[in-house]
Amino acid sequence: MTRFSAWTVFWNGLTGQKGWGRQWRDPEPKSHYDVVIVGGGLHGLATAYYLAKNHGVTNIAVLEKGWLGGGNAGRNTTIVRSNYGRPGNREFYEESLRLWENLSHDLNYNVMFSQRSHIALLHSPGAIDAAARNYNTMRLTGTPDAEIWDLPTLKREVPHLNYSATARFPIMGAAVQKRAGTARHDAVAWGYARGADQLGVDILQQCEVTGVKRTEDTVTELETSRGPITAGKVAFAVAGNTSRLWTMAGLGRLPIESHKLQAFVSEPLKPLLDQVVVFGVGGAHFYISQSDKGGMVFGGDLDWYKSYAQRGNLPMVQDGCEAAMSILPCLGRVKLLRHWSGVVDMSMDGTHFICKTPLSNLYLNAGWNYGGFKASPASGWYFADLIANDRPHERIQSFDLKRFERGIQIDERGAGPDPKLHG
């Protein structure tokens, strides 16, 4: 496998770009693996990579029913941040951000992580006070880059926003995390796949799990579209379809509903917006950034009803475009290029699960709500740790399925047990 370096890029430039081979193998499934990870998205691939790298487990298969990067890995707005408020969450996401900062070097694959700042607009003195409280908490708990900007600073840094004093919600300032930003979603999937493959992991695409055979307390075999596979340990990382797999394993119900979330990209423009800007007031919920190709990438709320369909509805297209117009009126004549929809696990408190299950050799990684992309490095890191050591690391102890029974919810929005509200 070619190791990427400035020299290999230079050399291939001189020799007609003929030196690049396949980045990962396309192996035939073996009949048995020590660990089988179901789901070849970012979380599954990251888990396989860290299992092999940190824990020396290499007889691993990652089963993907479609193709790599074709699920939610390719259906997000690529925002990475760690401005969370609840204990447990904020440390976890900060850990994830630290992994992001070194990810390209670690994987020897340019994931184009761009720490361009995450700017949440504020529209009232009350919102500024609330944000100051949150961001002070972040500074006290290990996230040093949280700042509150006043209006003159914001105008200087992000000149194109609608600063009209007569706007329905005039902008008064912003809460800023400067180390936050975006990454190239495909590159993250490909980088983890390539890294895992180099360490001996079998990545099996077009391999859908169709049945789960088990005894009273273990999973014994997975039936797949490419034949039966037995496994020492099985890990589910199939956000969006977790309940289906859970039912297949005969495990009953989960505190999860599947909803769909849309995102949009415009035609490419010249450089316009250097940061991720978030607009959330008066029922609007909107986030926008500009991709390296120039497209304005933006998204908003869920489609509001439960769905497994990977296609979005038109009222949300209108909602997103209306929000875009109210915050960046200069986009008025820009054409929408594409929109897409991903199916996400919305959990009952808006927080994820990385935990053991009622079956002794089955592990669960699910319930990522809106936030799965940014979490993928830490999710893989700690899920691998959980699978290898069969006990939750102290960092993920609160992310178990039993927290509702204990009366503990990690509810960032304070929205209560209604999955669609945790956006």
Binding site: S243, S258, Y305, K306, E405, D418
Partner: protein, 98 residues
Amino acid sequence: MIRIPCPFCGTRDHSEFTYGGDASITYPALDAPKEEWHDAVFLRDNICGPQLETWHHVHGCRMWLVIERDTMTHEIMSVRPANPKLSALFEDNSEADQ
């Protein structure tokens, strides 16, 4: 856009409605053990396929409806008022029509 045949207003765009949630949930008695309450409040079947769900015609007649809808195709199989008495009335009428 999903088009919902409201029994009171006729067929309308789903953007007139808000989605309530799983209509198959029945809440236990107030003095039921807390495990039963946990299951009713926090656990979901999360069906891929036809499921019963509540919708509120918030920009129309403001009635709560129970709709059977496929969560993969979004096809609507049946719509009835959530209030069982009203729902029974509608069933009587439709039988009389036949």
